[in-house]
Structure formats: C-alpha cells, structure tokens
C-alpha cells in the first residue's frame, strides 16, 4: 500500500477546479439506470429507493447510510419479484419522488461539508490537502443509496470547485471527474460482489484497490489534466499534481468510507450490549488520547496508535475500527496541518510521506484486521452452526434409530403374538382332529356286534393324503323281529363338522329304524334331520334291512354306490330304490327295492373310496370290483374277503379317499342244525332267542312249541350268563346247538365255566320252568363246563323253504 504513494501527496485545492457540468441532465436516464440496477442486485439496493429510507437522513453529513428495516426490504423484494421491471420502475420512482429529493439534498450537503472540512486541513497554506473526505462520502452514500444519486455528488462537487477553479468550465470538468470516480468505484465494487459490512478479506482488498486506489485515478487524472489545460499548472507539474490528487482522494475513501459504512451496522447487525458500548467508548477515548498525545509531543510515537486501532478491530471489528481510524487520521492530519507535534520542523515532503504513511497504515490495519476477525468469527460461527447441525442430525438420527428400534420391538411382539395365535390355531385344529377322531371311532367300532344268523365283517381305512377324517361311516342295527339293519354312508366334507353330522345321522338312523324298519321311512326321517341341521350337509346313504328268516333284503339308496351281491362265482349290483343324496332335494321321495339273497350269498356294502380312481371312470371301477369280488375263493370267510378287496384296490401308503366296507353273509344252516357261539352276556340272550326262533320257524316248528322252547332254552342260557363265569372277570362263551331228529327237538346249551352252588336269585324257577316246558332236561357238570340238554317232542310236518 505504501508503495502506491510514490510522490508528494499534495491536494491542490483552491483555484484548481474546473467548471461544473450541468447536474440537471436526463432524469429519465437516471431512473432507468436505477431500476436496472435494482433488477440486477436484488432487494438491498432497491430498498434504498423506499420512501422510508429518507426519513433517517441527517443533513449534517452522516447522510446516505440509512438502515433498511427488515420489513421494508422484504416488501421491496416481494414487490420486485412479483411484478415486471416496468412496474417497479414507476412504483419506486413515484413513491420516492419527494424523499428522493430530500436525500439528494442531504448527500449534496454532506459532500459539500466534507469538502469544506478537507479544505480546512491544508498542509501548505490553503492549497495542499492531504485528506479529501468528500470522495469517501460519495463512495459510501452511493454504495448504500445507489448510483442514481450521483447528481447530488455532481452538484456538490461543482459547488465546491466553482469558487476555486480558474474558469467555470474547468470547475465543471473537475466536477465531472469527481462524480465519475465514485460512480465507477461503486460500479466496480458492486461488480465484484463487495459487501459494505467489510467482513471479508476480499471486501477489504476490493475497497483498497478498486474503490480507493483504482477508481480515484479517474478523478486525479481528469482534475490534474484540467489544471494543466486551464493553465493553472505547467505540464511538468502534472505528475506531482496527479499524485497528490490521487492520494488525497484515495485517503478520503480509505478513511471516511469505512466509517460511514460501519454506521448502518449498528442497527443492521446484532445490537451491542452495554458492555460493548462501554468498550467501544473506551477504545475511542484511548485512541483519541493516544493519537492526541502522539500528535502533540515531539517524539515520533504516532505508531502507538496502531495497537489501539488493532485492539478496536479485534474486539469490535469494523464498528470499532472505522471510528478509531477516522479519529486517528483526522487528529494526525490536523496535527500535520498545524505543524505541531512530530510534524514540527519537518519538510513538506516528509510531512506528506509521514502523514500519508500513517493514514494508510491506520486505515489498512483497521479494516484488514477487522475483516480478518470478522471472517474468523464467521468461520467460528459456521463451525459452531455446523457442530450444532451435526449434533441436531445426530440427535435426529438417534431419534430415528430409537423409533426404528421401537418399531422393531413392536414388530417382534406382534410377530410372536401372531406365532402364539398360530399355535393356538394349530392346537385348536389338533383338538378338533382328536375330537373328530374320537367321534369317528365311536361311529366305527372295531368289533361288530355278534348277530346270530349272519356273519359280519367291516373295515375302515382313512385317507393317507389327507390327515383329516373323512365322512365315511357304517352301522349295523339289530331290529325287532330279528331284522338286521345295515347302513353305509358318506357325509360331504371332512373334520369335526362332518364327524358331528355323521354322529347325528347315525343316531337318527338307529332311532328311526327301531321305530319302523321300512327303508323309505328311515330315509325320510334322516332326511328330515339333515334338513334341520344348522349347516345342511350332503349325505349319501344306503340303507338295507335284512330278514334272516326269509333272506329277503329291502333297501333304499340315496346317491350311494350300489351294494354288491356275490354268490356262485358271480356278482350283481343291487340297483334300484334310488334317490338323490339326502340334503340335496327339499323333500325326499324315497322308494324301496327288494330281493331275496341266494343261500350262501354275500352282501357287500362300500364307499366310493374303494372304486374311485383318478383317470378311471366309475363304471370301470364298479366292473372291476364285481370281477375281483366274484373271483374271491368261495370258502373264504368275510374277514379274508375284506382284506383281499383292500389289498386289491388300495395302494399301500397312498389312500386317496376314505374307504369303508361292510360284508354280510347269512349263516348257512348246516344239515338243518343250528350252532351259535356268543359271549355269555345278558344282552346276548335276545340274540340267542332270535336265532333259535328263526331256526325253529324255518324248520316248521309250530308257534306254540316255539314259544315254550324259547323260554326253556332262554332259562338255560340265563343260568350260564348268571352262574357259569361269575368266578372270572370276562364272560366266557355260550354255545347253543339245536337239531331236529326223529326223536324230536334237541337243544344243547353249553358253557366252559364253574358253577357256583345254586339257590341264587330266582334260580329255583329256572330249572323248574325248563322241566315244566320240556320233555326232558339233563344237566351234565364236568370240570370243563356244564351242558344242559333239553329234549322235546315236536311236530315238524312243514319242511324248510
């Protein structure tokens, strides 16, 4: 910086000024420029044109720099961005007409007063001025208020120069230069993005090199050339004059402009607390004191001012440094002008160099240091902000993680709850399965009842693929008059519901059959029950009634595969008696069909699982069943027959559907003899009587004889039941044999147990009745059991059918 002051910096003041150019030039042009500038630089500059701006203008010289209320700025921004450029021009021009004039006057007055001050600080007589404040005033006010206020500068410059110039023309030309320099300075500063807060190094560099040293070459060149042209100085004096002019203007910018620019900061930036005001006042007082003392004493200690200015810059930045620098420069300049203190006895050149060096050092130190500290503080603030933001982000992220964790925990809970529910569901399904299985077992007893006169066998094979229980079922019911009911059916569906339906259908069928064994009647009853179920099911049902005494079978078939009759190496289906499945039609119309089974024939009932195969028609399946069943050995008992059929038709480990089978074969009378073997239980007495009754009737024994023989044989059997096996837990066998011969009827009742001594409950009557009703009663007791032989003469004139 010091290097930029190569020559004696003398301000040529009075008498060197040119004429003043007309300030009242094209106002339209001014407005247009202003609007264009506002468009280019946003609300801050546009706000300078708001009416409110002018109210703070102080005519005393602080003039231009007036704070922009935040609301006003925002309003201007909004208005600007919302409308067209033309609208903004007219609006700002219209609203600021009166206040603008006021501000123009204010700026002009400030400029003029600054010039008078400058002229009062001459180094030599009234001619040499080392500090020219008006340029600083012009730069600062045009920076804050906008370049459109240049006419005020122009008018004031003309007013200043007119009395001290050789001719009005010279004054005007000089004024043009004095106006052009600040305008160019402001233009350049705006171009590089200068911030009047001066809080960055680049702002400090910009105002030093562009605002002060660069732009002021214009005014210095124009001014000094004008001096030469007007004949005020010689051509040889041109460099010197130019150098003096230049340094004076530059110092004016460096010293005054920062001070003026710092003033708005007092309300634009965070307000100072009282402590800082106290500190600021103290700094100013110390600075004033130090520079005053240094200026008055003979000792060359002006440099002591620098630490004070540095202190101000460090502590208070521009707001402390600029006033301190201004005061220091003014005092030093005044001291040089009065030739007092360190300047006493100095040559003019030494004075100039010393003063300008001091002023430059103070100015540069002040706002470079201030900018440096501002930058540091901004950086610290940015760091702090960044840290705060980081902390906020960490907190935010932590919160997010916590939320995610909470969600995860909740999800885990929900999942485990669902799992538990699933477990319950599974357990429920398993329970249902168990219940259904229990029901199924109760429906399908392992052992069929012993029914005298017929042989029975049954099988049930659940599906392997589907672990659910099927709806297949069968039943054998012993009916009054020795009739035997056979039922086989299939309830649609699986599981508990189907099993429950099966139970109800089975029970209903039993009840209806006992009431009236007629197949259509039984079907009608079951139909009525199924129709009333809460969930109506489709039930196929084949119901037959077999009369062993006549070997006649009557049946009704509700949608079930037909029963098969096997005999003499051939098979035939019991077709007819058909109706739709129960539960399908609203009212069941049931008919029955009858047929007499041949001696030794076998009746086979089954469910569709036996004959239905994927890809094989039902007709083919039925044909195959008929062939295979007919081909079975004629002497095979029913158990073997069932096993044979299952082996033939079912693939092991892969039963697609449940299979149920019942086989029934009327007991063949072997040579007219009856042979029975049953457990010796009270409930079987009726079976014995039934079988014996049938046999007697078949053999043509008269009814009166039948009744009495039944009583006698019944007593013998009852004795076996009561006494033969009382010493052991399980009932043994009761054998009954009967034959008709020439000598009459022989009935043998045999047991394999040990009799207790007689004289039990009513025991006396048993033997009494036997003896009364029969012609002969013999009781043989052996270690292996007891035999009772009953003999009676009967008429057997009627031969067996």
């Amino acid at each position: 910086m010091a290097g930029t002051l190569p020559c004696p910096c003398v301000r040529l003041a009075q008498g060197d000024r040119g004429e003043l150019a007309s300030a009242e030039s094209d106002k339209t042009l001014v407005r247009r420029r202003s609007a264009a500038y506002a468009r280019g630089h946003g609300g801050v500059q546009a706000a300078g044109q708001l009416p409110k701006m002018t109210q703070g203008v102080d005519a005393a010289g602080t003039s231009g720099p007036v704070g922009v209320p935040a609301t006003g700025r925002a309003e201007a921004t909004r208005r600007h961005s919302g409308g067209t450029g033309a609208t903004i021009i007219e609006t700002s021009a219209a609203t600021s007409t009166s206040t603008r004039a006021l501000r123009l006057v204010g700026i002009a007055v400030a400029y003029y007063l600054g010039a008078r001050l400058g002229l009062n600080l001459p180094l030599v007589g009234n001619d040499v001025t080392p500090l020219w404040p008006p340029t600083g005033i012009a730069v600062a006010t045009l920076l804050v208020a906008g370049r459109s206020y240049w006419p005020a500068v122009a008018v004031a410059a003309l007013a200043v120069n007119l009395p001290i110039s050789a001719t009005p023309l010279a004054a005007a030309v000089t004024a043009v230069g004095n106006t052009l320099a600040p305008v160019v300075a402001v233009t350049l500063l705006n171009r590089v993005g200068f911030r009047r807060q001066l809080d960055r190094q680049r702002d400090a560099m910009a105002i030093v090199f562009l605002g002060a040293l660069g732009s002021m070459l214009i005014s210095a060149t124009i001014g000094s050339v004008t001096l030469v042209a007007s004949g005020a100085i010689s051509v040889q004096q041109l460099p010197t004059a130019m150098a003096v002019w230049w340094t004076g203007d530059a110092m004016g910018v460096l010293v005054v402009a920062p001070f003026l620019l710092c003033l708005p900061l007092f309300w634009e930036q965070p307000r100072w607390p009282t402590v800082q005001w106290v500190e600021g006042a103290a700094i100013l007082m110390v600075a004033t004191g130090v520079v005053t003392v240094a200026s008055l004493t003979d000792l060359p200690i002006l440099f002591l001012t620098l630490p004070v200015v540095g202190w101000a810059a460090w502590r208070l930045q521009l707001r402390g440094a600029a006033p301190a620098a201004l005061i220091a420069c003014l005092v030093a300049t005044w001291s040089a002008a009065t030739m007092s203190g360190p300047f006493e006895g100095m040559s003019l050149f030494a004075q100039m160099v010393t003063l300008q060096g001091f002023n430059a050092s103070v100015a540069l130190t002040s706002f470079f240091l201030a900018a440096l500290v501002s930058e540091r503080m901004a950086a610290a603030a940015a760091l702090s902000d960044a840290a705060a933001e980081l902390e906020a982000r960490v907190e935010h992220r932590t919160a997010q993680l916590a939320a995610a964790n909470t969600r995860l925990v909740q999800e885990i809970h929900e999942r485990s709850a669902a799992q538990e529910l699933l477990g319950h569901e599974e357990a429920r399904a398993q329970r249902e399965h168990q219940i259904a299985e229990t029901l199924q077992r109760s429906l399908l007893p392992d052992r069929l009842p012993d029914v005298p006169g017929v042989a029975l066998a049954a099988r049930y094979v659940p599906a392997t693929a589907d672990l659910q229980l099927g709806g297949d079922w069968y039943d054998v019911v012993q009916l009054p008059d020795g009739l035997i009911g056979l039922a086989i059916g299939d309830v649609a569906g699986h599981g508990l519901q189907a099993a429950a339906t099966m139970v109800q259908v089975r029970m209903a069928l039993r009840a209806y059959a006992l009431q009236d064994p007629s197949p259509p009647q039984v079907m009608l009853g079951v139909h009525g029950l199924v129709a009333q179920l809460p969930v109506p099911e489709m039930v196929t049902l084949l119901y037959l009634v077999f009369d062993p005494s006549t070997r006649r079978v009557r049946w009704t078939n509700a949608g079930h595969p037909p029963a098969l009759v096997i005999g003499d190496g051939a098979g035939a289906f019991l077709t007819g008696g058909l109706s739709p499945p129960i539960g399908v039609t609203v009212d069941g119309g049931f008919t029955e069909q009858t047929r007499v089974l041949e001696q030794g024939a076998t009746l086979l009932l089954y469910t569709d699982g036996l004959v239905e195969r994927r890809g094989v028609s039902i007709t083919e399946g039925l044909d195959r069943l008929r062939r295979e069943a007919a081909a079975a050995p004629a002497d095979a008992d029913l158990e073997s027959l069932c096993d044979l059929l299952l082996d033939t038709f079912l693939v092991e480990h892969h039963v697609e559907d449940d299979v149920a089978i019942i086989a029934m074969r009327p007991a063949a009378s072997v040579d007219g003899e009856l042979t029975l073997r049953l457990p010796a239980e009270a409930r079987n007495l009726v079976q014995v009587r039934g079988a014996l009754r049938r046999w007697l009737r078949e053999n043509g024994v008269p009814e009166t004889d039948v009744n009495e023989v039944l009583v006698a044989a019944g007593e013998a059997c009852a004795n076996v039941v009561q006494h033969a096996y009382s010493a052991q837990a399980d009932a043994g066998d009761l054998d009954v044999e009967a034959r008709l011969g020439d000598g009459g009827l022989e009935v043998l009742v045999r047991d394999h147990g040990q009799w207790r001594p007689a004289a039990d409950r009513g025991g006396g009557w048993g033997l009494q009745l036997m003896e009364a009703l029969m012609d002969g009663v013999d009781v043989e007791q052996t270690p292996g059991g007891t035999e009772v032989h009953l003999h009676r003469r009967v008429e057997t004139g009627v031969s067996r059918e």
Binding site: P480, L514, R689, N707, E708, V711, A718, R761, G762, L773
Partner: protein, 138 residues
C-alpha cells in the same frame, strides 16, 4: 338292552297304568321294574302293569315282579297285571304261580263306574287265584 322293551305310563283314574312292550329277560328286567317303581306317584293306590304287548318273560322277570309287588305293598299300593289269554308269556306266569301273589286280569284296566272301594287290607299270599289260570303243558 333297553331297545328290547319299552314302557309307557299314564294316569287312568285312580290307577297308574304302565304298558310294557317287547321282551323282558335277565338283561333288562331289573332296570324295567326299577323304572316302573320310580315313576309311580304317591297318591295312587293301584298300579297296573299291562303286559299285553310283552312277548317274552323269563324267571328273572318273574322274580323282579315279585319284588316290585312287595315294594309297592310297603307303600300301600296294589300291583295288578293285565295278560290276555293268548299271550305267549301266559305259560311262564302260570308255571311260576305268579298269580298267587299278583292279581292277573285278562282285560285292560278300566276306571270303575262306582267310587273305588276303601283301601283293602294288606293281602297275604292267597292260596289260590280266582282267575281261570288253568292250563298246563306236558
């Protein structure tokens, strides 16, 4: 087997009439007479067992009928039987001399036209029943 026989009771005038249908033997006799005794109201003086629909009885049945009779007598209630002449159980009843203890009528019970007789004295086993139970078989 409870399927073997059914009982049906109803109040007829001063009597409690029970119809027994089916066969009665060792397997259900006790159960059946227990059921009859249980259902007899306290305010009747006569219990009639109508065995018209009964097709079979055995000695165990006879024994339980004796016991039923004595139980009712303790309650000062009379037991009578109805058995048609052609009933298949007639022979057993006669051979066991049941009628010596329990009166047996051939006709179904009907409400007497005149007021009922005052309660009769407890009846010791009569030496001979007045009815025409006189058929024997060789």
């Amino acid at each position: 087997m409870s399927d073997l026989a059914r009982i049906e009771a109803r109040r007829t005038g001063p009597a409690h009439v029970v119809h027994v249908t089916g066969e009665v033997d060792l397997s259900n006799a006790q159960e059946l007479t227990d059921a009859v005794a249980r259902d007899v109201p306290d305010d009747v003086t006569l219990v009639v067992l109508d065995l018209t629909g009964t097709t079979y009885v055995d000695s165990a049945t006879i024994a339980t009928l004796f016991r039923l009779s004595s139980r009712l007598r303790e309650r000062r209630q009379e037991l009578r039987l109805v058995v048609p002449p052609d009933s298949p159980i007639r022979a057993v009843l006669e051979l066991t001399h049941l009628s010596h203890v329990i009166p047996i009528d051939e006709q179904p019970y009907a409400v007497p036209s005149e007021p009922p007789e005052p309660p009769e004295l407890p009846e010791p086993p009569a030496p001979r029943a007045p009815g025409g139970v006189d058929q024997s078989s060789g």
